[in-house]
Symmetry: C2
Subunit: 189 residues, 2 copies
């Protein structure tokens, strides 16, 4: 397959302007000149260290979470996730979040994709998704406003939720990470 278009000459960024716009968001405004001479202003939401997403599998079930999704004002079926702390390795953050959010430590973590991006047109955010296996009970305290509920689902139940167009599993990152995990474990081909 020919993917040479990805090696196209990058636009030149002729000015950058970074400013904190609220308690949690920082915006960067850039002026770009494309290789054909076209000029545009681009804006992105800055991200410091990226984030992790965990796909825990206990040998029979995937453990999903139900957590309040502030931007959609509803409870959402998702996976353990969280920000990477300063000077923290992604794999360490994944195991920390797993223990804080659902009370398991994983003895084995496999990176599912070198990097998963979320909305590369406007979010600088990069995610690291791990398949987490060989689980043992170990609870750490987190900063969640309420306990996160766990939902145990078999591989076939997860597939049903992914492929049913009307199911409650709607989050792109969760669908992508579960798809990669199902394939890695031999449940999808």
């Amino acid at each position: 397959m020919d993917l040479s278009a990805l090696k196209k000459q990058l636009p030149t960024i002729t000015s950058r302007n970074v400013f904190k716009v609220s308690k949690i968001f920082t915006v960067e405004q850039n002026h770009l000149v494309f290789s054909n001479g076209a000029e545009r202003d681009y804006e992105r939401i800055k991200s410091n260290n990226g984030a992790v997403m965990c796909v825990p599998f206990d040998g029979k079930h995937f453990i999903l979470t139900v957590e309040y999704a502030g931007a959609l004002e509803r409870y959402e079926l998702s996976l353990v996730k969280g920000k990477i702390d300063d000077n923290e390795e992604a794999i360490v953050a994944a195991n920390r979040e797993l223990q804080e959010e659902i009370g398991f430590r994983a003895n084995h973590l496999t990176l599912l994709k070198d990097e998963l991006c979320v909305a590369p047109g406007m979010l600088e955010l990069r995610m690291y998704a791990y398949l987490c296996t060989d689980l043992q009970v170990n609870k750490l305290n987190g900063d969640e406003p309420e306990a996160i509920e766990c939902v145990y689902l078999t591989p076939s139940e997860v597939k049903e939720l992914i492929f049913n167009s009307k199911s409650c599993l709607t989050e792109s990152r969760t669908i992508a990470a579960l798809t990669l995990a199902l394939h890695k474990l031999g449940f999808l081909s």
Copy 2:
């Protein structure tokens, strides 16, 4: 499967504060009281009408795009996508973006998921992903700074890119939409 946790009592939003923070971003700051009494401030990036993502399939190949991803400062392998205009139906927006970005009109569009969300903790954005088939050449002018390059890939090439952990296909929404399309067309089970 027991998904009753999704019906949990929603937090009460006791104050809302919306403000435009830059040329394209508007932030909403909310104060929430959870059903257990815990209080938190949440912030989200507002979205007006949502956006569409298109998975065009010409009978033999999926047509992916290579477009500059401003927030990651690189060219990214993705799919046709764009914002829904005011008073525009999602399916109409999908066919418009398809014609603007890659010069095809689809005579058949199938919604792959009632809604795909992107980062429900902070982005209000909802996407509508369509499988677009029965394609005919028809170019509309868009507002892109440069022509979008197309990459034609067979279903097996797309699967290779999805499941190879080191491939250049890294965008969660694109992986999710392609996964749903592959399954709908019978190439993934």
